[in-house]
């Protein structure tokens, strides 16, 4: 039997989703508004999208962001998976706590620490220092995720590989890495998004020489935004929804695999 109270929860949840999507909806609508100065609607235009594609600054920032994100993903996945496989199980379990540090501190503290380190050793700020910072963030996710998957693996598979005469390196590349693939893809995607989205560490450790997409967006918002940012946001929303779909597809795929 349905009473009035059984409708309260769905309504509350619907209100929550409305709250979640109103700003995004407004943003998308205004990316097509033919009015650069106020919010009143003056007509439909795709002018901001053509501006966006004509702007060299945006694409330069995007290129930097992608370069930094890909490097951080590659570095944190390599370092993380090598640690998980080659480190002794007992040691890795104890070391796991070490990697939670970057999640337990506010990011601004990490940023201040990195900035102090770089200025102490007079390291010039730039893309390299950003990769260092983002890899630090990335390891905090990669190591726990990959480790959780690794300890679930059937040990007999690894033992069988050794028994059949494979070296440790061969076992790593032909047995363990393929088995870890779902976890590596999930962790890699996560680190990629985190790096692409990162603002605070980038703001502290980028210096003047390198501009990433979030830094560019922040600079534009700060100096009085242009509707071009809305167009950019709409496109980024499309890309991230594609990535989320991909991610959930991989997830479903994984959960459907026989245990």
């Amino acid at each position: 039997m349905r009473t009035a109270s059984s409708y309260i929860m769905p309504i509350a949840v619907a209100a929550f989703y409305l709250f979640l999507y109103i700003p995004i909806f407004v943003l998308i609508v205004f990316s097509f508004n033919d009015n650069a100065f106020t919010y009143s609607w003056l007509g439909f235009t795709t002018e901001w999208y053509s501006d966006l594609f004509a702007s060299t600054e945006v694409w330069h920032a995007l290129k930097n962001s992608l370069l930094i994100a890909i490097s951080s993903v590659a570095l944190s996945l390599t370092l993380g998976s090598v640690l998980v496989f080659f480190g002794s199980r007992a040691a890795v379990k104890r070391l796991l706590l070490l990697f939670y540090g970057s999640l337990a501190m506010p990011e601004i503290v990490l940023a201040v620490g990195l900035l102090s380190l770089f200025s102490f050793f007079a390291v010039p700020l730039g893309a390299i220092t950003l990769i260092v910072g983002h890899t630090l963030l990335g390891l905090g996710y990669v190591v726990p995720i990959v480790h959780a998957r690794f300890i679930e693996l059937d040990v007999s598979l690894i033992e069988a590989s050794y028994d059949l005469g494979a070296t440790k390196r061969q076992t790593f590349f032909s047995v363990v890495l393929p088995l870890l693939a779902p976890a590596l893809v999930a962790a890699g995607l996560l680190v990629f998004i985190i790096s692409l989205d990162d603002f605070i560490i980038s703001f502290f450790c980028a210096g003047a020489s390198v501009q990433t997409l979030p830094l560019y967006i922040f600079a534009v918002i700060r100096t009085g935004a242009s509707p071009m940012i809305n167009a950019l946001s709409t496109l980024m929303l499309l890309v991230s929804s594609f990535l989320v779909l991909l991610f959930s597809f991989l997830h479903i795929h994984k959960s459907r695999m026989p245990k």
Partner: protein, 294 residues
Amino acid sequence: MKIKEKIKNFIAENGSFIFSAPAVLWQVLFLYVPFFLVLYSSFKRVADSSLHDLTFEHYATLLNSAYFYIIARSALIALGVTILSLLCAYPVAYFLALKVNRRWKNVLLFLLTLPFWTNFLIQIYSWVFVLDYNGLINMALLKIGIISEPLHMVNSTYALFLVMLYYYLPFMIMPLYSILEKIQHDVLEASMDLGATHWQTFRRITIPLSMSGIKTGVFLVFVPAFGEFAIPAIIGGSKYMYVGSLVSHYFLVARDNQLGSAFTMVSGLVLITCALLFNWLCAVPAQVAQKEVE
């Protein structure tokens, strides 16, 4: 040839150490060494003072009510956001985990994670459109005729609070959802069969079972909210200082790394104290319940 052999043997013997070292080294060098560097820098008199010229003067400077207010304001806002997001997130997570059928669940989860994966500055910035002097809310209210003058909403503490709540809600929902999803329906049904009311079941069964999710959510929201820097910078204007804005001011604008380091240390200490206090608070109800049983 001999050296090559030696290296090969060395790697074979110490492989576990050699291969696990880089990741650990990375973490130590870029996370834990900087921490001590900041600590050390907070005691230095000036940037290029000698190794032994240490002083407490920066900490003495911080013994000022202005700094106390900044830290207290950040802590209070973070606390408010945490509590309100817990209250809002719990019903949503509960609904997603226990009340909705599988097909809708996937759609709702997708819709939940989408803003979460969207650029975070854009999420904040989109609120400017809603809250601005000529923004959506003012336009709507003027049209309906509730107000005759647009309201000033951007740059207020309310706006800051609202946007922080908006941004951090998914961080609270996700851990709550993943823990609530593991609760077996049988347990709840058993409780009802034994004569407990909905409320009793919720209070005595659901909440205790989801405690670890609540804890994770609270940490995921409170810690970054306390050090939040971008949201006040975009929404809050320059009316009030927060911990994050002051830290970035010292390091990036004023270039006073010593005072900045000292302030970072003090704020960090406050944050750790809050975390310990919260942990202790979580442990109390469990002990009380234990006593009740005995």
